[in-house]
Structures are given as C-alpha cells and as structure tokens.
C-alpha cells in the first residue's frame, strides 16, 4: 500500500499542509526542529492511534487550536480509501472513512499500516522491559485490531485488582484473610491475561526467524540475534486454557506476597522479551552499533510479518540514517529499497544512501515544498 495524499490541520507545528506522494522513496529534508518528524508522526498516529513520541495527545494539537485533523488517501492495489482522524485531547477522537463518520475510531485501524523506525527505537534494546512489551502489543494490534480491546480489558482488570490489593494491604496485613472478591479478579485476570499471553507467544514464534534474518543482513560480521519470551509463569504453549490455568496457579502462589505489597506480581504485564546476541543478553552487553542493528532488525521483522499477512505496509525511516555507520546504512538501504513506499526524514541529505534517491521535499519555516 502507499499514501497518495496527506493533509494536516492544526497538527503539531502545521496549521495547514497538503502533500501528494507517489509510490517509491520520498525524502523530507530540513534542519532540526523544522517539522520533518511531525509529518511522518501523523502517519504513525493514523496507524496506531497513538504517537511514538508522546504518551498524551495534547502536544499533537497546534498551540491555541482545539483539535487536530489528519487526513490521508491510502491506496491499496486498485482501491483508494480516504481516512480521517480528528484528535480531541481529553475527549474521544473521531474518525471518518471516505467522508462518512464511523461509530468508533478503532474501526479505521488497519486501513493504513506503517512501520516506523525512529531514534527512539534504541530503547527497544536498551530500555525497560515495558518498551519491548509495547513493541509486541502494538504489533498485535496492527495485525488484528481486535487486540486493542484485549489489551484494554487486561489493563482495566489489572487496575481493578491492584486497587483491591492496595486497599487490602492498607487495611491490615494478614488480618482477616484476603478480600472476598480477590478470587473473582484472579479469574478475570487469568482469562484476559491468557488471551494476551497466547497472542504474544504466537507472535514471538513468528518473529524469531525474521529477526535473525534481518540482523544477519544488517550486521553480517556480528553474532546472531535471538530472543526468549520470559513469562511470570512457566507455561509456554500458546494454548489459552493451559495458560489460564497456569496464571491462576501463579496468582495463588504469589497471593501472600501480593497482599503484602499491594500489587499484582503475576501476568503478562510483568513479562520480558529477553534479547540475546550470541550467548550474551543484548541489554548491557551490546555495543551502540549492535543495539541499533538489533532495534532495526526488530522493526524490519515487524515489516516482514505484516507483508506476509498481506499488503505491503508503508515504511517510515525517521532520522535513522544519521545514527548508522556507512556499512549499516548501505545494508538498510538494500533491505528497504524494494518496499512499495518508503518515507525518509533527514537533516543532511548526504546521510541517505544514493540508492534511495526519489522524490524530495524541503521542510522549513512551517512550509513543505516539493523539489523538482
């Protein structure tokens, strides 16, 4: 698929901008702070209904405006869809498809699929386990929008259960036994958790060979990249009933500890995707260059997986080439070159390998101009 048209209103630094794109490579060039990333961030938002840079929506709306609008024409095969998202910070967003409102913004998730590479990706390797869990869960949602609901349900049960444990911990440790409703929340947490966990385990199995392949292509002289899913329970078969039983047993074992500390200690929110380079854990042992290659390999694997599912997603490389040495740049260019559409941002045009020449836009002073 590719984006043929993008219009922004009151998004970030742009009061109004309209751009037309073609398949192939498009590069946005401009000094730092001119709004290159804002352009590609809008497409990332349209994909995931969230930004890769900020956790709340308020910074996405231009200062002084009430709402921001992202509108994109997405072409897939011979079909063209016009997707529009209105971002209302603090309130529900609204979505339109081909100019007609849809009941829930979630209904337009999946129409545009992008895979975004950004300097922030380094945190996938060097950051907390939460970064890697989010990588997995975001990819689940992109593949099957239904998982947005599964994920939200799990987070809600977790919040309720934590509130119960916290109040029990405050009321008096050990006195009067556990609250009467804890069993009920255990059952619900296990059921929602098993659904999320089963999906993650399947995803990890599908990603593993793709990551190894991508890493070998990016850094042929380095060791092999692999990872394990380390769950808070032993069970690793993606069978929901078995996972649910294992989670329930895990909660039972942890109960005394949980009641003392007032938080939930078992479940997919505690799990880790442990990355390995050769025999060593990537976190702490990998060099800066190796960490970058690993992060890129994870994104490339996500791209491959979405492509296998059907429909070539749009690749976005936000300020990535500046972070890589010449060899890695060349390898990356080779890997992304064949994609249907690649959008690149760069402060220095020379950072982008010559093989990725294509259309070019200059970004500066809040304006975006096509260079002919």
């Amino acid at each position: 698929m590719h984006v043929a048209h993008l219009a922004l209103a009151d998004f970030r630094s742009y009061d109004s901008v309209e751009l037309a794109f073609e398949p192939g490579v498009t590069t946005f060039v401009g000094d730092n702070g001119q709004g290159k990333t804002n352009l590609v961030e809008s497409l990332g938002y349209l994909t995931a209904h969230g930004s890769h840079r900020v956790a709340t929506d308020a910074p996405l709306v231009r200062h002084g405006a009430a709402r921001a609008i992202i509108r994109a024409a997405v072409v897939r095969g011979d079909r063209r869809a016009l997707v529009e998202l209105e971002i209302n910070p603090g309130r529900a967003n609204r979505a339109r498809l081909n100019r007609s409102p849809v009941p829930r913004p979630r209904d337009v998730v999946g129409l545009l699929r992008t895979v975004l590479f950004a300097p922030e990706d380094l945190a996938l390797v060097k950051g907390d386990p939460g970064e890697r869990r989010r990588f997995l869960d975001d990819l689940l949602v992109t593949r099957a929008p239904r998982f947005a609901g599964v994920r939200a349900d799990y987070e809600r049960v977790l919040k309720q259960r934590n509130a119960l444990l916290r109040s029990a911990a405050q009321l008096g440790r050990g006195r009067g036994g556990p609250p009467a409703t804890l069993d009920v929340w255990d059952a619900h947490l296990s059921r929602c958790g098993a659904e999320l966990l089963a999906a993650r385990l399947e995803l990890v199995a599908a990603l593993r060979p793709l990551v190894a392949k991508a890493y070998a292509a990016l850094a042929p002289s380095s060791g092999s990249a692999d990872f394990d899913y380390r769950g808070s329970i032993e069970e690793t078969s993606p069978d929901r009933a078995m996972l649910e039983a294992a989670l329930l047993a895990g909660l039972e074992n942890a109960r005394r500890n949980e009641l003392e500390r007032g938080i939930t200690l078992v479940g997919p929110h505690r799990d880790e995707l442990a990355l390995r380079l050769g025999e060593l854990p990537a976190r702490g042992y990998a060099s800066h260059g190796e960490s970058w290659s690993f992060a890129l390999a994870l994104r490339l694997a996500a791209y491959d997986l979405l492509r296998i599912d059907g429909g070539d997603p749009v690749l976005i490389l936000d300020d990535v080439f500046a972070e890589l040495d010449a060899e890695r740049r060349a390898h990356l260019a080779e890997l992304v070159g064949p994609a249907e559409q690649v959008l690149i941002t760069a402060a220095v045009p020379a950072d982008v390998p010559g093989s990725l020449a294509g259309a070019r836009f200059d970004v500066g002073d809040g304006r975006v101009n096509r260079v002919r």
Binding site: R104, P145, V157, K159, Q160, A180, W185
Partner: protein
C-alpha cells in the same frame, strides 16, 4: 463568570451526569427565559423527588411507597429473581414484557477503583430474600462490562452452593442487525455463547 445566582445555577447543573460547562450554561439561560410556571413545576418536582420517592424495602427499586409496584404485584412469579445494577435496568427489562419474576437492585457493581466492594451493594438483602427457599432461579443481569461481569462471577460463586439455578443473560448480536457490522468483541462473545438449534 456570571453574577450570583446565575453562576450558582450553572455550577449546580454542571454537577449532573453528562452535563458539561457549555450545556450547563445553555440550560441555565433556557430556565431564565422560560415561563415562570414551568420553572416552578420543575422546582417542585425536584423537591418532591427527594421527599416522596423511596427505595423498595424488598428489592431496592425506586418506589412511591414502601414496596415497589412489582413486589406488590401478586401475579409476578415469586420463584425467579432477576439481579440488576440500577433501577433503570428494571425499566429496560420491563419494557421487554418477557420477564414475569421479581427483581433485585444491587445499587451498582463491584469496582475496587471506586472503592465499591460487595458490602456496599445490596447483596446481604439478596441473601435474606433467598433464605426461605421459595426462589429457585436467580438471573444475573448486571452490565456486560468488566465490573458487571466481576459482580456476576462473585454472585454466581456465592449462590451456586445454595443449590439454586443461576443463569447469566446472554451477550451477543443485536436483533435485526447485520453480522458484518458487529464489532469483533461482540461477535466473539456470540460465538462463545452459541446454542443448539431445536428443530
């Protein structure tokens, strides 16, 4: 900010559910320009509702007397109790005219975040009603959201050992709708709750 009583009215209206500052202002100015007789009637109803309306001492539904219309109705089946969260759920079920038993209004759902536990709901009253053994079936009709499901699970675990028939309302597809328009969660639930077709 408006002066004195106008702002007070806007503030009070703004406390109502679903009414934001803009709507509160619109309603306040509507009241200001309305016929004085209409406004007096509204004021009177507002005072009366707190004085005259009670909660039924049996089921907890809103009632004009000590017991609600449904609990007083001898034709209703005393063997079946339908448990709901709020009085407005009773009205919704009554509209179907499908249910001939009696109700029990819990007054909410279990939600630790909001500090609502089983003791804050009318569960003790429900157990008292079930004590004499006349009731044979309890239908759990709490909302099909997380808190409603948790409440239903809690009640089911409490009631099952008493030898009662405990049922839960089905969740699934809206009647008269198209399958393709159902969201994935609802459709998934409908699959889980599918039943044998008697032919």
């Amino acid at each position: 900010m408006y002066e004195g009583v106008v702002q007070s009215l806007i503030d009070e209206l703004g406390l109502l559910p679903g009414v934001g500052p803009k709507s509160a202002q619109r309603i306040a100015f509507h009241i200001l320009s309305a016929d004085p007789a209409d406004v007096r009637r509204l004021a009177q109803v507002l005072t009366e509702i707190k004085d005259k309306v009670h909660f039924c001492r049996i089921c907890g539904n809103v009632a004009a007397e000590e017991e609600c219309r449904i609990c007083r109705d001898a034709r209703r089946d005393p063997q079946v109790i339908c448990v709901v969260e709020e009085s407005k759920d009773v009205v919704a079920i009554e509209k179907t005219r499908e249910f001939r038993g009696r109700y029990h209004v819990l007054g909410g759902a279990i939600s630790p975040i909001e500090g609502v536990g089983p003791d804050d709901l009318r569960i003790k009253e429900l157990m008292k009603r079930l004590a004499d053994g006349e009731v044979t079936e309890v239908i759990l009709a709490t909302d099909p959201n997380l808190e409603g499901e948790a409440t239903a699970t809690y009640l089911a675990r409490l009631l099952k050992p008493m030898g009662l028939k405990v049922t839960r309302l089905a969740s699934g597809l809206p009647v008269g709708g198209d399958l393709e328009y159902a969201d994935e969660v609802t459709l998934g639930r409908a699959f889980e709750g599918r039943r044998l077709l008697d032919v």
